[in-house]
């Protein structure tokens, strides 16, 4: 089982308390009425499905209930960083280098 750190509760908890909600840092178009169908499809459905280091949205659903972001190596399931929602996307390459990838 994965151990996940919640940046709001500031504790490490078992994976069963959390729900993964897919890729992080996908911004909704500011003015949906101005976007083309293709742009909307891109926003709504298209995901990178990264093999390697990726930022994901997680929710501590059976704890504080808050959303936060985590950087995870999708190959090894190793978490590299946890940070609160709204904080900028970290430099994934730097994190990967730090982790020795």
């Amino acid at each position: 089982m994965l151990l996940i750190y919640c940046p709001y509760c500031q504790v490490e908890r078992a994976e069963t308390e959390f729900a993964c909600r897919g890729e992080a840092h996908i911004a909704r178009p500011a003015d949906p009425s101005q976007t083309t169908d293709e742009e909307w499809v891109e926003f709504l459905y298209m995901r990178d499905n990264t093999k390697g280091i990726a930022a994901e949205r997680w929710r501590h659903i059976h704890g504080c209930g808050r959303f936060f972001n985590a950087v995870r190596d999708t190959v090894s399931d190793n978490f590299l960083k946890f940070y609160k929602a709204g904080e900028p996307k970290p430099d994934l390459e730097a994190l990967a280098k730090e982790a020795g990838k």
């Binding site: 089982m1 709001y8 509760c9 908890r13 504080c64 808050r66």
Partner: protein, 191 residues
């Protein structure tokens, strides 16, 4: 039980027979309480605490208690407020009045959940039959409160003493939670 946290608030329900009573562990149904869910922003926290009678705790997983009042941290902008059953109206109206000018959500959730008091030498062992949390006193000191999962049911755990825990679950899940606790404790009886 006077040395326990909030012992004037969390009391065994006198009318109920104990769910389990062994030398090393007891499970008692807790008497009904006023439970309020409060969500508000930073600006309203001081006023809400003043109106309620106990400060809102700001550090994660912590609690603050006063005479017949307890405020439990649920999230960075969410608290559960506990008071005696009869104080529902006064507490609710008091907070609403004080926060009338500030955005907030105050909801009466008294009847949503029930609580059992699990106490005894084996309390930690028993909770760990269904919860993946290290309950050692260094990592989970007295007063710590958290929501988590007990087997498959969401519960709230509040440590009110070194060997005493309040386990709160939604009314419809309580039979499952209490039932599994009693069943798991059967192992102690056999030994």
């Amino acid at each position: 039980m006077s040395e326990l946290l909030a012992s004037d608030l969390i009391t065994p329900d006198a009318g109920e027979t104990p769910l389990l009573s062994l030398p090393s562990i007891s499970i008692l149904k807790a008497a009904p309480l006023t439970r309020l869910s409060l969500r508000c922003r930073e600006a309203a926290q001081k006023d809400a605490g003043a109106a309620f009678g106990a400060e809102l705790p700001l550090s994660p997983l912590s609690n603050s208690t006063a005479a017949k009042r307890a405020a439990l941290w649920m999230g960075p902008d969410e608290w559960t407020l506990l008071a005696p059953e009869d104080d529902l109206r006064t507490v609710f109206d008091g907070i609403e009045e004080k926060l009338s000018a500030q955005p907030h959500a105050l909801v009466d959730i008294s009847d949503r959940s029930e609580a059992v008091i699990v106490s005894g030498d084996k309390a930690v062992w028993l909770l760990n039959t269904g919860i993946f949390i290290d309950f050692s006193l260094e990592l989970f000191p007295v007063g710590t409160v958290t929501r988590t999962l007990f087997h498959k049911a969401p519960v709230m755990i509040w440590r009110t003493g070194p060997d005493t825990f309040v386990v709160e679950a939604w009314v419809s899940f309580m039979e499952y939670v209490a039932g599994l606790l009693v069943q798991s404790a059967g192992e102690l009886e056999a030994a």
